[in-house]
């Protein structure tokens, strides 16, 4: 944890080595966060890089916890907020552009036959299903279910009412439940067969 504090200080002092180490360390977390909101992978990587520029420029404002062990959690929460805000800004910019085309295979890790293989396949399918949701439903679902924002906070971030947020969430959940039920039924059918 002490190394994290040193890394943060280095980033504040604009040391490029520290900044690079910080970027490499948190890139995966950042991309996984942003990709849930942004449909296209290439666009998501751009948004991640833009977010890191914002993070480095405002890292002086980050206040680490006195408990050193909590610092990383707090830092990731702080970063997540910047990543999500940047992603939502990008969504606003490309609101008129249709999200077309299937997600290419090369963006996924190769899944070997380990213990978690099935789980990983399921997770991949779930994320793909989230990405098939209309952007407004997808954003509300991500914010509420995965990132843990309240409806009040979502309303503030997206500039919508609480009711609209709740309604969007309900519709998104219904669509995802349907997908899961279909998938379960398909699996059961395949096993019985």
């Amino acid at each position: 944890m002490e190394s994290l504090h040193i890394l943060i200080k280095g980033c504040i002092a604009r040391d490029h080595k520290c900044q690079r180490a910080f970027y490499e360390n948190y890139y995966g977390f950042a991309l996984k966060t942003v990709f849930r909101y942004i449909y296209k992978y290439d666009k998501a990587t751009d948004v991640v890089n833009d977010s890191f520029v914002k993070i480095f420029n405002s890292l002086e404002k980050f206040q680490p916890s006195k408990e050193k062990s909590d610092t990383e959690k707090i830092l990731m929460g702080w970063m997540k907020r910047i990543l999500i805000n940047t992603a939502i800004d990008e969504l606003r910019k490309q609101q008129t552009l249709p999200e077309i085309g299937e997600l290419p295979e090369y963006i996924w890790e190769e899944i070997d036959r380990s213990q978690n293989a099935d789980q990983k396949v399921l997770y991949k399918e779930l994320i793909c299903e989230i990405k098939r949701l209309p952007p407004s439903y997808r954003t509300v679902f991500n914010l509420f279910v995965i990132d843990g924002f309240s409806h009040n906070e979502i309303a503030g971030i997206l500039g919508i009412s609480d009711g609209t947020s709740k309604s969007a969430l309900a519709k998104a959940k219904a669509q995802l439940k349907k997908f899961l039920e279909n998938r379960f039924l398909e699996r059961s059918y395949a096993l019985h067969k």
């Binding site: 504040i12 002092a13 849930r36 991500n142 279910v145």
Partner: protein, 419 residues
């Protein structure tokens, strides 16, 4: 229902964290380029801010200069209007007054129908010199000796202007009058004149030289605005600890003379400071120093730009120049880059490290107070050279290490009167 609401939420939470996305395509170069761009944009916006402040200062200074200049010219115009009313009655150059019959010309034997401002001053030879300042008039109506009022007159179109001065030396019987007007006409009259002008010639520059029996034309122009190019070595110290190698300062300034003694100057200068400090005075908040590292001392090399504003007072004038003193503030300081050479000790092991910092601190306003004193020698009407010693004491601390840097040195400069 296969999934409860909570199950669904937990499932998607886990999926959101652990889904198998490829994350090995990080592109640091792109981020570094974006960071550099944002830093340069930030510097540009800072520069713009500084430019705005400088413009405000220059505009304020310019307005002051304009106001002073205008009020001075208004005053001149009012004076001219007053003097316009002082016309001289009747006759003209055809019948100038003859002083030949009088032993000594005096105010008593020159009569004016309208009041004319007159001064009496001592000539070089100790003789009394009567100086008449005549202002633009359409007609010089009469200059008549008391005893011969009918013969003293200057005729019709000829007129005398504001800079005209008439000196009448009271020397023996030979009197000469020279009248200079804006058209540089020279008019003399003597014993032989018998009430008329003896000569009207074009005046040349020699006429402006003071000489007995001539009318002086004062053409010394008052320059109010001047520019200066200056530079010199600069020594810097923190809390008067040891001195490091000297830096330098180079800059330009624009000055406005409010009156004979007081001037306002605004400058733009580039400084390169070198200074030493013990680690005790260093603020380590922004420094990239590992914890448990003790900084013994630091040597700093710093490049910065500043905008000094000062008020200057000329307190002692000699024939070739004048001494002056000035006081002012550093209105803006922008630190461009800093090189810190640390002597550190970690767990008792000494080491030296070096760090460079650029544009880490924002511009500072009114961060120092300047005092200077020197001598300015005139080279010609327009050009002068100056040498001054200066002392600058900090109000705000300087740079990433926030050190209270005091500077002093010598400036050598060359000034030119502009307007």
């Amino acid at each position: 229902m296969l999934y409860t609401n909570d199950d669904l939420n937990n499932l998607f939470k886990k999926a959101g964290k652990n889904y198998p996305l490829k994350t090995d395509n990080s592109n640091w170069d792109d981020v570094a380029a974006k960071l550099n761009k944002s830093a340069s944009e930030s510097f540009a916006s800072k520069s713009l801010k500084v430019l705005k402040y400088t413009m405000v200062i220059l505009l304020a200074g310019g307005s002051l200069i304009f106001y002073r200049f205008r009020s001075a010219s208004d005053f001149d115009q009012n004076e001219r209007k007053k003097n316009n009313n002082k016309t001289v009655a009747n006759d003209t150059r055809k019948n100038l007054p003859s002083y030949s019959n009088t032993t000594k010309p005096s105010l008593g034997n020159v009569q004016f129908t309208n009041p004319i401002q007159s001064d009496v001053e001592k000539g070089k030879s100790g003789q009394a010199v009567y100086t008449f300042n005549l202002t633009p008039v359409n007609k010089l109506n009469s200059i008549a000796p008391a005893k011969e009022p009918q013969s003293a007159s200057l005729s019709n179109e000829q007129s005398l202007n504001s800079n005209e001065s008439l000196k009448l030396p009271s020397s023996e019987k030979q009197e000469t009058q020279v009248l200079n007007d804006s058209r540089n006409e020279k008019v003399e009259s003597g014993d032989q004149a018998n009430g008329s002008l003896s000569k009207i010639t074009k005046a040349d520059s020699k006429l402006n030289e003071p000489a007995d029996g001539t009318i002086r034309l004062n053409q010394n122009r008052d320059y109010r605005i001047y520019g200066t190019l200056f530079g010199g070595p600069e020594f810097s110290t923190v809390k008067f600890q040891q001195l490091d190698k000297p830096g330098y300062k180079i800059g330009v300034s624009l000055g406005y003379r409010m009156n004979k003694n007081v001037s306002l100057e605004v400058g733009l200068q580039r400084e390169h400071l070198n200074f030493y400090s013990s680690g005790d005075y260093l603020d380590t908040t922004l420094l990239r120093i590992k914890p448990n590292t003790q900084i013994e001392d630091v040597t700093v090399s710093s490049k910065l730009t500043s905008v000094p504003v000062s008020l200057r007072y000329n307190f002692s004038s000699t024939s070739k120049g004048h001494f002056y003193a000035s006081a002012g503030v550093n209105a803006v300081i922008i630190t461009h880059s800093e090189q810190y050479q640390y002597s550190i000790s970690k767990d008792g092991v000494p080491a030296n490290i070096s760090r460079s910092y650029s544009a880490l601190t924002s511009s500072k306003y009114f961060s120092g107070v300047n005092f200077s004193a020197g001598f300015e020698r005139d080279l010609s009407k327009c050009w002068s050279v100056k040498i001054e010693s200066y002392y600058q004491t900090p109000v705000n601390n300087l740079g990433v290490g926030k050190l209270p840097v005091t500077s002093f040195g010598i400036n050598v400069g060359i000034s030119k009167n502009l307007k």
